[in-house]
Amino acid sequence: MSAEQDILQELAGREYEFGFETQIEMDIAAPGLNEDTIRFISAKKEEPEWLLEWRLKGFQLFQKLTMPNWQNFKLPEVDFQGVSYYAAPKNKVKYNSLDEVDPELLRTFEKLGIPLEEQKMLSGVAVDAVFDSISVATTFKAQLHELGIIFCSFGEAVQEYPELVKKYLGTVVPQSDNIYAALNSAVFSDGSFVYIPKGVRCPMELSTYFRINAKNTGQFERTLIIADDNSYVSYLEGCTAPMRDENQLHAAVVELIAMDHAEIKYSTVQNWYPGDKDGKGGIYNFVTKRGICKGKNSKISWTQVETGSAITWKYPGVILQGDNSIGEFYSVAVTANKQVADTGTKMVHIGKNTKSRIISKGISAGHGHNTYRGLVKVGPNATNARNFTQCDSLLIGDRCGAHTFPYIESKNNTAMVEHEATTSKIGEDQVFYLNQRGIDNEQAVNMIVNGYAKEVLNQLPMEFAVEAQKLLSITLEGSVG
């Protein structure tokens, strides 16, 4: 058997490192989705009436909307009635300090490499940890508070800052955007809320860590980030889930709002359980993420490293409304075994002199399928809009696939839209070259893949770039083509 086959086989058999389950008493809603489910969630979270109304409106939209049919994969049947929409560790819903958190939960996050005790934390990173439907702990809250920065769970924001939430909720991703966005707005559990006041540069990375633990549940978090005039924030989300035979649904909504001269950097390292080598189990990652550069000279930058999930289906986009605003999308998406990714971005140029930059690096191995789908839209008033798109695909082995669907709609003839695309295979010559210098196949592939993805990895905050590199290595354990 050739080394290539060896490695492909090894790749197929790779293990998911975070597949353990935490044994903890949970408060779980019975499966099913109707108005009562929504009232139950809202009541559990002691929400104000307006939010319940908003959720119910979302539910009505969900019932009216139909599944899209343009995706480049077979959409699995999701039994919305078979899922439980609320799961939270028992005991206490709201934690006032870490001392009140179940030690088993803290241990879980330790195991995941996310220590929540502040003295042990990476310096310069504040973490909000979300376990199933509930936020467990937000660290460094007090320090941030002194600067007027709000970083807390979504649930807490609803209680403490209802005016802010009410003002911005659903303004970037309308409830009617798509069926999963509607579903999320009806049943969303928890998530993070960030507000950076005028003129404040957030001094540390803000990070949310999502963990699905309970069986037969979905995760529907919502994140809302508002950067007021002249502010800056860098935010990172990470995620894992136990290995299970059945598929689990993750349908999140993320909304970003950047005012005049504000900048938001949003990074994702997505490592949900991808399913086994035969494609059994794994997370359906159906997510709607969008930012709006509302103010002039504002900037929103999405960076994503997508290595997990059975199916990843998402298009983090930017609405470039403010003049001179900038939108960026940097993506590495890896599909191995039977994983599927249909991902890309939407850049909507509305203001003058708006710029967008799209760098997408797809990596397919095993039977994985990787689709880049991107829309660059230039409105009639977007004089001098500029877009640059670079879309690369790397194939490992010959049973995987890469697909590219770039769409361009321009209504302004001063706009310049550039698109470049390449597809390459990891060359035997490259691997042999590295072998000849004493480097084994596995490390050779790591080096080649990391080199290929470097432009994107460089966008991540330092601490996470290292993590992301490791993750790429684990995901592609030893593949040669």
């Binding site: 042999f432 072998n435 000849q436 210098r437 004493g438 480097i439 196949n441 080096m447 080199g451």
Partner: protein, 255 residues
């Protein structure tokens, strides 16, 4: 150090090497010449362990071990180095990180701890000086966008860093300008010692004026058809290969 006996190898069923015999001792420099397509690069590839070549007969002993039994990376760690005729580009992989990985992999194989950053940088600097290697190339991605000559020089620089026992240089001189040729040759001469050996594949006598070989072999149609001393290279330069081809045809059995 290297003992090749009756080596036969094929690519996709086509016999390319047809019975190579060659012995290389420590401290020696062997030159291999021969017309295009005669199998010089194939010999280098087989020794380095390129997977597309199937060894159909023969044996190769390297420092008392069965070379053909080792994976390519183990051959490298055992001290075999190939400066490629066509070094590949690996985008995004930094030259320095790549070298550091290579050095440490080889050290690990010999039970040595990884080199500390400072020691590594010191070594890098001293070898850069020794080989007169452009430090700017060091900070770029591995061969990405390098000129042909720069790639060759990068390979030779790697050779200096990895300190192999046996270095095979496949047409390293092709694509080097005169100055570069002189610098690279001087570098190789500085690396020569009584403990290491070189196999230099070349078409040109010129290189052999700088790196003087102990033996010159002519490879033709998958076999070494003539061996001699450095004078043989001069003769080849003068007369070309045709006179040899005629000799060989006479020697070959009629089919």
């Amino acid at each position: 150090m290297l003992d090749i006996k009756n080596l036969h190898a094929a690519v996709e069923g086509n016999a390319i090497l047809k019975g190579i015999n060659l012995t290389v001792k420590p401290g020696e420099v062997h030159a291999i010449m021969g017309p295009n397509g005669s199998g010089k690069s194939s010999l280098a590839s087989v020794l380095a362990g390129r997977e597309s070549y199937e060894v159909t007969e023969g044996s190769v002993d390297f420092l008392g071990k069965d070379l053909l039994d080792m994976s390519p990376e183990v051959r490298a760690r055992e001290g075999l180095f190939l400066a490629f005729q066509y070094p590949v580009e690996i985008p995004g992989v930094s030259n320095i990180n790549f070298l550091k990985t290579a050095v440490n992999e080889i050290r690990a194989y010999h039970g040595q701890p990884p080199m500390q950053a400072k020691a590594f940088l010191d070594m890098l600097k001293s070898k850069q000086k020794l080989m007169e290697f452009d430090a700017n190339l060091m900070n770029r991605s591995l061969n990405e966008g390098f000129s042909g000559g720069e790639k060759k020089r990068n390979d030779v620089f790697q050779m200096a860093m990895l300190e192999p026992k046996l270095a095979i240089m496949d047409e390293t001189d092709s694509g080097l300008d005169i100055d570069a040729l002189r610098i690279v040759s001087a570098g190789v001469n500085k690396l020569r010692s009584k403990d290491n050996a070189f196999i230099i594949i070349t078409h040109y006598q010129r290189l052999l004026e700088y790196i003087v070989p102990d033996f010159v072999h002519v490879l033709y149609n998958g076999r070494i058809v003539k061996s001699g001393t450095k004078e043989l290279a001069l003769e080849l330069e003068e007369k070309g290969y045709d006179w040899l081809k005629e000799d060989i045809r006479l020697e070959e059995p009629v089919q």
